[in-house]
């Protein structure tokens, strides 16, 4: 086969297709989102869907597995927390068709709310885990994972991470397998799949036997590789950390753990036997180190020098292991003196006027996961918490129960359409049921925005762009028992402020829906603005900087002392970049001096 450069996620998608997967499901999450997109766009023989959340995704694919089909669920690390409920019991039922769960970690939290190490699920969940270190291994290990799953009757976890999923490396593909017709469901197997106590106890025995068999198999598993070079020193590592360490210490002996758990006990014994000093290099938690120490071995170095947080970049590995011999590179310019370039809400984004309004109202805003988290930063400063998908809705309720009537009018929660459907409905039901009075604001931009535009049950389209049924947010709110449901147009700042204040003041649950505010990057649906461009009237601008408070990428400050046509002294003037302005009219509504006007020709 011809060699090609593939992104890790693309290699995972290809492996699923080549392994004969019939059903694949996911909820998007960086850095895992491209896998299902690639499957949907490239491999028409695989049924693919965006599920409303990761728990549903795993349940969908496990149903396919019970019917005998090979199946794949993909998620980011925090997604596995949501899917943990089915995972922990699927470990007991086992599988029929190969069942693989791809979980993508994000060390250094490039785009995540925490830095959890998914390797911990494998021992806890009693299911094996493989960890590829580049795109070739993504392809090869995924193929192995489906075979392992069927051979050992177990779900298999495959752990990726940002530097694997989002790296492009050379891949040589294998021979594709034909998708086979699933053997079908069998009622006689009920004792394997009905996890009532009696069957659970029988399954427990199978689970323990399986782990022992996997432990034995680990010693011959080809993804675990030992290389003896320098017998004085060697390292044990997995995934991309193996690759980074190998690069710095190419002369050292090495033991690469392609299977994170169960560990190859004989191989580890042999490695400690053949190599004098063994260093364990692992990102995040001391997972291998704890296990290997428990086996009675004493590593030369491990977490005594290697950090337990952030990415293990080659710099950090070298610095940790070379100690005083490490030579730091020359510092020519202090990067901390340079202006940062943090991401910002897009020009024309509907979140900007909404959060400006919330800021002006002085509300405490329980936020959520999505682009709108960017409104936490000054000058908008209008998101005050972000924990996990859907959390803000229940947190606003809890806070108001704690604070009583004095919190009325001052607290709300904000979450996106996709996040609301992921995990926002149950907490809203809770507010209604328990006679709460929190206000829930759904910013409906018609798409899952931050992860790069994935469809969801509220958009009216499937993952393959086919028109489908669509959630009606108003109907849902009503069905849950919300009496006060209100639509607002966030681009009309004063009206929005009034509406939000009224809803927050009410001593009952409120659901506010932001309408006609599609994501600015969405092509199929566009907000029609009255004018396409605004400009500053240099005769009138007093340089008061009020319009800078919305942090619009098109607006900048130009220091230049002068005065307005009617003689007001100013220190500078504001400039609107005509290449960027889309005419959303938000800045114009803030200007008290009529200095921002549409360009009409």
């Amino acid at each position: 086969m011809k060699k090609q450069i593939m992104q890790g996620n693309a290699a995972i998608a290809r492996a699923a297709s080549d392994a004969g997967v019939s059903v694949a499901a996911a909820y998007p999450g960086t850095p895992s989102s491209e896998i299902l997109r690639d499957i949907a766009n490239t491999y028409p023989e695989v049924y693919a869907e965006w599920a409303p959340n990761e728990k549903v995704a795993l349940e969908v694919v496990s149903g396919a597995s019970f019917a005998g089909a090979r199946a794949l669920a993909c998620m980011k690390h925090v997604g596995l927390n949501v899917a943990a409920d089915p995972l922990m019991t699927l470990a007991y039922t086992g599988v029929k068709g190969g069942l693989v769960i791809l979980v993508a970690d994000d060390p250094y939290s490039h785009s995540s709310q925490n830095e959890q190490d998914s390797r911990n699920w494998t021992r806890f969940g009693k299911v094996p885990m493989l960890e590829p270190g580049d795109s070739q291994e993504c392809y090869d290990f995924m193929r192995e994972a489906f075979d392992l799953s069927e051979r050992f009757d177990t779900p298999v976890l495959v752990r990726s991470e940002t530097r694997v999923s989002h790296s492009d490396t050379v891949v040589e593909l294998g021979e594709p397998l034909e998708q086979t017709k699933p053997v079908g469901l069998d009622k006689k197997e009920w004792q394997k799949y009905v996890m009532v106590p009696m069957n659970v106890r029988a399954a427990r025995i199978r689970v323990e036997e399986r782990i022992r068999k996997l432990e034995t198999y680990a010693d011959e598993f080809k993804c675990n590789e030992m290389e003896i070079k320098d017998t004085k020193i060697g390292f044990i590592a997995s995934g991309v950390t193996y690759n980074c360490t190998k690069d710095i210490f190419p002369e050292w002996s090495s033991l690469k753990l392609g299977m994170v758990w169960p560990l190859p006990k004989k191989m580890i014994a042999e490695f400690f036997n053949k190599v004098e000093k063994v260093v364990i290099v692992e990102e995040l938690d001391p997972f291998f180190e704890t296990e290997i120490r428990a086996m009675g071995y004493k590593p030369f170095h491990g977490k005594d020098v290697i950090p337990t947080m952030y990415e293990l970049t080659p710099d950090i590995i070298e610095k940790s292991l070379k100690g005083s011999e490490y030579k730091a590179p020359e510092i020519r310019v202090k990067p901390e003196d340079l202006p940062r370039r943090p991401p910002n809400l897009c020009v024309g984004c509907s979140h900007r006027p909404l959060f400006y309004a919330l800021n002006k109202l002085g509300a405490f805003v329980f936020g959520d996961i999505g682009c709108y988290t960017l409104a936490a930063a000054p000058p908008l400063s209008a998101i005050h918490t972000t924990v996990c998908m859907g959390a803000g809705v229940a947190q606003a309720h809890g806070a108001m129960k704690a604070l009583g009537k004095e919190a009325l009018g001052k607290v709300c929660s904000v979450l996106g359409d996709s996040t609301f459907l992921h995990n926002g409905l149950t907490p809203l039901m809770d507010i209604v049921y328990n006679k709460g009075n929190a206000t829930t604001i759904v910013v409906d931009n018609r798409i899952t925005g931050m992860t790069g535009h994935q469809e969801h049950p509220g958009t009216g389209f499937t993952i393959r762009g086919e028109p489908t049924n669509m959630v009606d947010y108003e109907e849902i709110g009503r069905a849950l028992g919300v009496k006060s449901i209100r639509k607002v147009d966030p681009y009309k700042i004063n009206e929005t402020m009034e509406a939000l204040q009224e809803e927050m003041d009410k001593d009952e649950p409120s659901l506010v829906l932001c309408v006609d505010s599609p994501c600015m990057l969405l092509r199929r649906e566009k907000r029609q603005f009255e004018h396409s461009l605004y400009t500053i009237d240099a005769d009138k601008c007093r340089g008061c900087k009020v319009c800078l408070n919305i942090s619009c990428p098109a607006i900048s400050w130009r220091e230049n002392a002068g005065e307005t046509i009617d003689g007001h002294k100013r220190k500078g003037i504001v400039y609107i970049n005509p290449d960027q302005c889309v005419g959303c009219q938000v800045c114009q509504q803030l200007c008290k001096f009529e200095a921002i006007n549409p360009v009409t020709q």
Partner: protein, 201 residues
């Protein structure tokens, strides 16, 4: 490319929307088809929201780590001046640098809270002398009729560092990665970039 089997380290930096990722994809195809192992890693989760974009690009006989160590960059390709100076410490003393002469203000500068760094070219020349090449990618692309092609102009300029790599490898990469209607523009951009480098040296 090095004969001793050592890996070549190239670092690309820019602002979301400048096409830094396409540029690194062109390099990837060209080096792969020249027979090298290639690994590249990028952080682009929020690039569409105007954040910075960086790509670690490594090629050689066999590449392990996808990441370059700070101080080991042999070629810095930056599509924007601030995003060039931000990574000046990453470059080896004998490293070579190509910078697209463009300024994109970050939010703190737009808000008047911080100043955009002055004299980026002077700072680079202080440390890297004649190994610094500032290319007017925007002007060249504008003359070709499309500002979007500035990234490929820079790729063309960069290709001059590897005379042993045939031009066709880059041209083929452009054809593989871009829609047919964009081939002509980008191939011209590549050659204009290469030409600009010859004048620059």
């Amino acid at each position: 490319m090095k004969k001793n089997g050592k890996v070549t380290n190239i670092f690309l930096s820019g602002v979301g929307g400048q096409g830094a990722i396409l540029a690194s994809n062109i390099l990837g195809e060209a080096f792969l088809n020249a027979g090298y192992d290639v690994k590249k890693a990028e952080v682009h989760g929020m690039a569409q929201r105007g954040g910075d974009v960086t790509t670690h690009f490594r090629c050689g006989k066999k590449v392990y780590s996808p990441l370059i160590k700070q101080g080991d960059v042999e070629f810095l390709i930056s599509f924007e001046l601030l995003e060039a100076i931000r990574y000046i410490n990453w470059v080896k003393p004998e490293g070579k640098i190509i910078i697209n002469n463009q300024t994109v203000f970050p939010p703190a500068v737009n808000l008047g809270l911080m100043e955009y760094p002055k004299g980026v070219d002077v700072t680079f020349k202080k440390y890297f002398k004649d190994n610094v090449h500032i290319i007017d990618g925007q002007d060249i692309a504008r003359n070709l009729g499309n500002l979007q092609a500035a990234n490929v102009v820079i790729v063309g300029a960069f290709s001059s560092f590897f005379p042993e790599l045939k031009e066709e490898l880059f041209v083929e990469a452009i054809k593989t990665l871009l829609a047919p209607k964009l081939h002509d523009l980008n191939i011209r951009a590549f050659y204009e970039g290469k030409k600009a480098m010859e004048h620059n040296v």
